[in-house]
Structure formats: C-alpha cells, structure tokens
Amino acid sequence: MTVPRWFPRSLAALGIAALLAGCAATPMRADDPFEPMNRASYKVHEVVDGHFVKPIAQVYVDYTPRIVQKAISNFFGNIDDAISAINDFLQGKPDKGGNDLGRVLLNTGFGVGGLIDIASEAGIPKGNEDFGQTLGVWGLPQGPYLFIPVFGPTTVRDGTGWLIRYSIGPVGYIPDVPVRNTLYGLGGLDMRASLLPADKLVEEGALDPYAFIRRAYLQHRLYLLYDGKPPPEKDDEK
C-alpha cells in the first residue's frame, strides 16, 4: 500500500504509525481507503473520549434529573425536526416534510419552545432526514469512510452534510457567546449521553471495535438513505 501523491503531509504524519502497523494484515477496502489513518484517528478518539468526553457524559446522565435531560433532548430534537423538514422538501418528499414541519410548529408553539415533545405524544412520528441523505438522494457518491476523533464515524458525503448543517445553525447565529457555547456544549453532551448504551455493546460485543462501528455506521446510513428499504446485501453465506 503506497501513500497517494496528494496525501497531505500532516495527515501522513498522523497516520504513519498506523500505516506501518496496519499494512501487513489489512487489505484495502473500497469504502475505507484511508483505513490506516482512520484507525490511528480511532485510537486518538478512544483516549480523548475515554478520558474526557465519556466520563462527563456519564456524570451528566447520573446526576441530572431525568426530566431536565428529556427537556434538553427535546429542545435539540426540535431543531433536528426542522432540519429534517428542510431535507424532506429538498428530496421531494412533501408529505414527510409536512409531517416534520407540523411537529416543529406544534412543539415550538405548544411544547414550551420545544422542551416538551407533544407531537410524539399526539402520535406524529419523528423524522430523520439530514443533509448527508439529501446529497445521496441527489446522486452524490458516498465517498471514503472517515473516522474523526470526538466527532465519530462519517463519510465524505455525510461529513459534507454536517458542514452544511453546521453552517445553517441556528445555534451558530446566537450573538451572545456564552449562551451559544453553552448550547453547543449541552447539545454535544446530550448527543454523547445518548450513545452511552451503544458504547457498552461495542465494548462487550466487538472483536474489533473499529470494524464493528464502521460496518454498523455504513449499514445504518444506507438504510436511512433508502428510507428503511435498502437494497439487499450480497449474500456470500454459501
């Protein structure tokens, strides 16, 4: 395995150890051409997350009243619903878009600005569209798989989706810096906390956590892209 000519030097430095370690055993995969570098990133992630992010999320879960956690989760979920609605329309799914938009209006107007998810109580299911999926629907290929420390698994397409998501805000447009940073922090905390049960499964069930997460991530994204009906996987059981 040789390093491509355009490979940035700093990244090469980051990945070099893993390259040396990984080349012998790991054949190159079409969907993860940067595997050695990604594995190095994953190692960095394990240290940073394990020592800082995860313990903080655990404290948050253990010591914050359930109802507060739920309200925080609903607040950000309400923003996600708005993003989902935008993407429904961008993908030409007006029915689902109306559904998600209805959720936002209901929860913002009657659910204390999104702190209470009364739309779910009323039986309006939550949507789950995002910009990564929209780019996929528009025909952009998935691109290489990437593992980014703290951020987690993504692909070039999904990462691009996240950049679009980030640029839209709305949290980024709040002029008051402490308020904005608090919201970013809470949002990240809420998300990380929601992943804690999954950590345990990876810890206990995976022989190779990196490969386990990669496959799960890519499969799940495919399922989302095809709205729950992904094309059947090639079966090489026999």
Partner: protein, 217 residues
C-alpha cells in the same frame, strides 16, 4: 415506514443514531421467539410481547439481576433462534471450509458472545410500543422477513426486521436487522479478518478469549 433518529446538534457527531439502534439491536435480539405450528409473524408478536411484559413487571429484571435476566433469555428467547445459521451468516465464505467440529465450537462461542452482549441491554427496554407490520409472503414460503417498528417518544421509530426460516421444530430467527444493521452480518468483517490471520481455529480462539475476558464484567 420511517426510521431512526440520527441527525443532531450543530457541533456534535453523526453517530447519534448509533446509540439508538445499537441498543434497539439488543432489544430486538431478545424480543424474538416461536411455537411449533405458529405463523412467523404471530410468533414474533407473541414472544416479544411476553418478554416486554416480563421486563416491565419483573422486579428482579428491573433491578438488573443478571441471573434472572439470563434465565428469561434462555427460556423465552433462545429456543427461537437458529444459532448455527447465524454463525454461518456471520462467517461468510469461511464457513464452507470449516470442519463439523469447528462449526460446532464456533457456533457455541458466537452464541455465548451474542447472548452476553445483548442481555446487558435487555432491561433498558420499557417505554416503547411495537408496531407489527402485516406479513407479505407466500403461504408456502420457508423463509420470510417479519417486520416490526419500535416507537419511542421523542425519537424516530426504529424498524426491526426478523429473518425467519421454517424448521422441523417451528419457525426460527436467523437474523435480526435493527435500523438496517444486521446483528449477524455486522460481524462479517471482523470474522473475515480473523480467519485471514489465523484460520477458523484462530477465530474460535479469539472469540473464546473475548468470552472469557468479558465474563467477569
């Protein structure tokens, strides 16, 4: 038929869905089973309802009593799984070259791993309802997919599909797919690289070590 929650916050990560379905995976795996002459969809419904009922009502399960949880799993769920088929699916091509003895050992280790991994998450499933989709299959079919959707407040519904096969002792599940992630084939990459490195025996050894190491946790 929509699905999981994944997108989230500005500064955060795209792995959010990971939480939801990896957990749901746990639930799905155990929310399974069947009776001999029972139709596959009826079986999934009966067994998942039975187990949900136990999770909600049994004080020992709620308290996280591992012995009791294990008992529930072994009596209520495991009879409705075909672990050999699951192991074959996870192993992929390598399964063909395995000896009968290797197949037996591999199946035993994989079963232990799956049960241990997913039993820990069993008592997390309480506040949810399951929507059972109508089965679309030939009356004479010997393999069907039973589709369900798990609905939880504040989260997008998660689709859980059970790959079921007809056996002499009734319908059994050979795969559980949660939010597009197959509980079984998710292991294929890991199994393949283990087999490339140390053959089937190497894989068995790795699984055994994993099972032994994690048992004390």
């Amino acid at each position: 038929m929509k699905v999981t929650t994944i997108s989230r916050r500005p500064a955060a990560m795209p792995g959010a869905g990971l939480a939801v379905w990896l957990c749901a995976l746990a639930f799905a795996f155990f929310a399974l089973p069947a009776l001999a002459q029972e139709a596959p969809d009826a079986l999934v419904k009966r067994v998942s309802q039975e187990v949900l009922q136990i999770i909600k009502a049994d004080p020992k399960v709620q308290a996280g009593d591992q012995a009791r949880i294990r008992e529930v799993i072994e009596t209520k769920l495991l009879p409705y799984f075909d672990f050999e088929r699951m192991t074959a699916l996870a192993t992929g091509r390598g399964w063909r070259s395995a000896t009968p003895e290797q197949k037996t050992r591999l199946t035993a280790e994989f079963k232990t791993l799956l049960v241990r991994t997913y039993s820990g998450a069993l008592n997390q499933y309480r506040d949810q309802t399951i929507d059972y989709k109508s089965l679309r299959a030939d009356p004479g079919a010997t393999e069907v997919t039973v589709r369900t959707e798990v609905v939880r407040s504040g989260q997008a519904p998660v689709q859980i599909d059970y790959g079921m096969e007809k056996t002499p002792s009734g319908w059994k599940a050979y795969d559980v797919v949660v939010g597009g992630i197959s509980l079984v084939t998710n292991y294929r990459d890991e199994f393949n690289s283990q087999i490339q490195r140390g053959g089937i025996d190497g894989l068995i050894k790795t699984l055994a070590a994993k099972n032994a190491g994690g048992a004390s946790k």
